[in-house]
């Protein structure tokens, strides 16, 4: 590909050469072009330098700064950052039961959300990919994506209205003669809302994985006498697994980093890692502690991604 491009460039340059001989600027350009032609390593450097620099500066530098500042501290009186190296922030996180509980709650609800979304998304994606006619499939696609076109906040607030003590849910239950469900402002509500808002991020990769399964596999399975359930268990699920894992990367990491949903629909004990980070920066102005706590989800996600890679998730992205 790169060679082809260069070949064209060479032709163009030589064309210019014939018509504009003697112009120094053109000559210089031609020499430079020729030089590049002879030095492929320089070509690669010039081509890759901008994106690599961008990546290093914007992305890695921020992460490195985050990690480094986690080892600083804040002067308790003036609340200014003091660049004194210590691991005080980390010992606080690991020795305090409250922060452990917050980290466990965050991971627990992220895992529960991922599992719920996987269970809900699989049959839906299967129907979309293998059963629905093209026109119906397009309609379903729109339905899956429709919520993403409206504000995340609006959808979370809508759930708050549904789950409220005098909200739609309890009103409906009362009409049906059932007892009221008091799940407003609880961790159950947080789990429910997360499962709702991240569901499209699970459906799409699972759909992509299921759509790629060749029809011949199903035929072969049937020819060999497998019943429907065996086909699902031994053909569909193993081949859809990379899609499920890819979706779970989204649902898990999005839940892990969120702090708005717990604030809005959570109760008295619904703090997430993100809430502590937010209040440490925006309220206590204790950036080092926030940085230290923010490395926790980073480490968790790192481990998760390594496992996901083993399961082949990146081929389904």
């Amino acid at each position: 590909m790169a060679d082809g491009l260069d070949g064209n460039e060479g032709v163009a340059l030589s064309g210019l050469d014939r018509t504009s001989a003697g112009l120094p600027a053109r000559k210089a350009r031609r020499t430079f072009g020729g030089f590049l032609w002879r030095a492929p390593w320089l070509r690669a450097v010039l081509l890759l330098a901008p994106p690599v620099a961008w990546f290093a500066l914007i992305y890695l530098a921020a992460l490195v700064y985050l990690f480094v500042s986690a080892f600083w501290q804040v002067n308790p009186f003036t609340s200014e950052i003091e660049r004194i190296w210590n691991v005080h922030n980390f010992t606080t996180i690991f020795s305090s039961g409250a922060y452990r509980a917050i980290a466990l709650r965050t991971v627990g609800i992220a895992a529960a959300t991922t599992l719920t979304d996987a269970v809900l998304a699989f049959p839906f994606a299967y129907y979309m990919a293998r059963v629905a006619a093209p026109r119906k499939r397009a309609v379903l696609f729109v339905l899956v994506l429709l919520p993403l076109w409206s504000s995340y906040l609006v959808r979370v607030y809508a759930w708050r209205q549904i789950l409220d003590h005098d909200g739609v849910l309890n009103w409906s239950l009362e009409k049906l003669g059932l007892p009221a469900a008091n799940i407003a402002y609880t961790n159950t509500a947080v789990w429910l809302v997360f499962s709702y808002v991240w569901l499209p991020f699970m459906i799409l990769p699972v759909y992509a994985a299921l759509e790629r399964i060749p029809e011949s596999m199903f035929e072969a399975s049937a020819d060999l006498g497998a019943r429907a359930w065996s086909t699902v268990r031994r053909i569909v699920i193993p081949l859809a697994l990379p899609g499920l894992v890819a979706g779970s990367i989204f649902t898990f990491s999005l839940t892990l980093g969120d702090y708005i949903t717990p604030t809005l629909v959570g109760g008295a004990s619904s703090q997430f890692i993100g809430n502590v980070v937010f209040s440490s920066v925006g309220i206590a102005n204790n950036i080092p502690f926030a940085a230290a706590f923010a490395t926790v989800p980073l480490v968790i996600m790192g481990v998760y991604l390594v496992v996901a890679r083993r399961l082949g998730a990146f081929e389904a992205l």
Binding site: H165, S269, A284
Partner: protein
């Protein structure tokens, strides 16, 4: 061309400084407005009702940034805001932090004519005046009240014990704010006199631990720690909460929506806030800032803000204007209350390690913040 303008502006700025700075370093007169005024304010503190006439009168265009909590105001100021914003409407739990962090500068109260009309209790209160130096102009104050649903909470509560008792389990809400520890301490100062709490903002480690223990015991009873006033309004409107710590603002909003609510100052007294407009250390528009301080302190504007927000003006001449806007509002917000009324309110101030008793054994505010996060769990 651009450089010329900059030079001219710099010379002009120097001239203005030289003309107005007095021997103590405080300005002695207000110069020409800079055309802009940047504020960090509580939401509701810059209503068009009084901002528009100010802009018209002075030519200073008001740009406001709203903050959700005192802590956020301090964070905004310390993250470079002191040279970006001119004034900050700091509450008592933030003002000392701003002063000791040198994020605000002294002001000349003589340039605020209405200051002489202020209720004496608010002319030089300890949360904005240090060693006789004024670091701002008091604005408005209000009590943190006990709000309850009149249909579901019977009999009428008379003590803060109501929000610590299992009777209303799962229906209680309190602010998501570390300064709430002072409310627990205030209650303990009466219910457990043996702890010896005299000032809820100056707690020894033992007193502090007792307050945190009380709050931990309260946590399972709480439906939600509210972060925004509108959250608490929702909770009361939808029946998720029936009793909680509140501000007069929520009461008036809920009453306007015909919710069955009332509030009270319980027998233990209450904590309260006193807000101060404080001048940033490197305010870019000092003249407009002084113009604002003078304007916002006049009786009529004080009355407008008081009635609009539901709080009490510090200017003692504001009462007739308040009654003109809303009949009976002066008495409703205790703008004409006797001194004994203020005595039962413990105004917010930043908890410092140095207690007034001269010892150095009090728990400072950063520990309040940490303890609050850990208590919520």
């Amino acid at each position: 061309m651009k450089r010329v303008i900059v030079v001219v502006a710099a010379v002009a700025a120097l001239a203005v400084q030289a003309a107005t700075a007095g021997p103590t370093g405080l300005p002695t007169s207000i110069g020409k407005g800079e055309g802009q005024l940047n504020l960090i304010a509580w939401e509701g503190y810059t209503q068009p009702e009084w901002v528009k006439p100010f802009e018209k009168e002075t030519g200073c265009q008001v740009n406001a940034k709203y903050a959700g909590s005192s802590d956020e105001m301090v964070a905004l100021m310390s993250q470079g805001g002191d040279s970006q914003y001119d004034l900050v409407s700091a509450s008592g739990d933030a003002s000392l932090r701003l002063i000791y962090s040198k994020l605000v500068q002294p002001v000349n109260v003589k340039l605020v004519p209405s200051w002489k009309q202020f209720n004496p209790a608010f002319q030089s209160p300890p949360n904005n005046t240090v060693d006789g130096v004024h670091y701002g102009i008091s604005l408005q104050w209000g009590p943190n009240t006990l709000l309850y649903n009149t249909k579901l909470v019977k009999p009428k509560p008379t003590s803060w014990a109501a929000i610590y008792s299992p009777k209303y389990k799962g229906k209680i809400t309190v602010p998501d704010n570390p300064i709430q520890i002072a409310d627990a301490a205030l209650y303990l100062s009466k219910s457990q006199p043996s702890l010896g709490i005299t000032d809820p903002y100056e707690l020894t480690q033992a007193q502090f631990n007792a307050a945190i223990a009380l709050l931990k015991q309260q946590r399972p009873l709480i439906v939600k720690y509210w972060a925004l006033a509108s959250d608490e309004i929702d909770l009361f409107k939808n029946g998720d909460a029936v009793i909680g710590a509140s501000w007069p603002y929520q009461l008036s909003t809920l009453k306007a929506a015909n919710a069955p609510v009332a509030d009270t100052i319980p027998k233990e007294g209450a904590t309260g806030w006193l807000d101060t407009w404080m001048l940033s250390a490197n305010a870019p528009h000092p003249n407009c800032a002084y113009k604002w301080l003078a304007y916002i302190s006049t009786p009529k504007v004080q009355a407008e803000q008081a009635v609009s927000y539901g709080e009490t003006p510090v200017n003692s001449k504001a009462c007739p204007y308040m009654n003109k806007i809303a009949k009976g509002s002066c008495a409703q917000y205790h703008a004409n209350a006797p001194l004994a009324y203020y005595k039962q309110i413990k105004f917010w101030k930043t908890p410092l390690a140095t207690c007034d008793n001269g010892k150095n054994d009090c728990v400072a505010y950063p520990e309040w913040q940490t303890a609050w996060t850990e208590m919520k769990g």
